[in-house]
Amino acid sequence: MSDSLEFKYQIDGEDFARVGHASTDVKKKLKMMGLPPDVIRRVSIAIYEGEINMVIHAYGGEITVTISEGDVKMVLADKGPGIPDIEKAMTAGYSTASESVRNLGFGAGMGLPNMKKYTDSIEIETELGVGTTVTMHVKF
């Protein structure tokens, strides 16, 4: 693969019925491209967690996935409230999700920790009241 491929997804805020749309589609595409199953799983988990975060916390946003030689780059950008304390947000089990969100099975405080665990690198840029951009890479 010499050229890179790019896919963009718009994520609607508060639309829990659509969560998983981007990650499922990326998974299908990576499968068709013949990427290793472990890479597909890690990318799927990272994007799915990102989708959930965007819906729960950030009124939606945009996900850009770029696949190039040996690398899947995922950029998740939102115009949400920003993350006040990244260190806390990265702590497994810490969650600010509402009761209604928890009732759907989310809010275990595993989102960002899972994204970190399953990717080779994660970078979070956040500004209160402006938004958050999470950039992740999975190498293969």
Binding site: G20, S23, R41, I45, E49, M110, N114
Partner: protein, 111 residues
């Protein structure tokens, strides 16, 4: 054991029979917190849970689990049911608790 074999035991009510009933069930997975399921879900497992919504189906797809078994009398909500029907996912249900349901499936796999 295939999904069809599991259905044929008559132990579970069929909420939706999926597209591929010949698919092999190789393991059982039990969990209700979707973020944990997302990272720990076992490929080709029957997933026994009380979470019956469209997100459950998304996690099942992403982790390549074989089917969903709703336990404790849990039901799939309307949006989830429509999704299961349109995408061809198998969803079963039971009034029984999670453990005996999972134990039954495990016993069937190893019978």
């Amino acid at each position: 054991m295939t999904i069809q074999n599991l259905i044929d035991t008559g132990r579970f009510e069929v909420v939706n029979a999926g597209d591929d009933l010949t698919r092999e069930i190789k393991d059982v997975f039990c969990c209700d917190l979707l973020s944990i399921c997302m990272s720990k879900g076992i490929e080709d497992a029957a997933w026994v849970t009380v979470m019956g919504n469209v997100n459950t189906l998304a996690v099942m797809t992403l982790t390549d689990m074989a089917c969903i078994v709703l336990a404790e009398g849990a039901r799939m909500d309307e949006v989830g049911l429509q999704k299961a029907q349109s995408e061809g996912f198998t969803v079963l249900r039971t009034e029984d608790p999670i453990y005996p349901s999972a134990r039954f499936i495990d016993d069937m796999i190893h019978a």
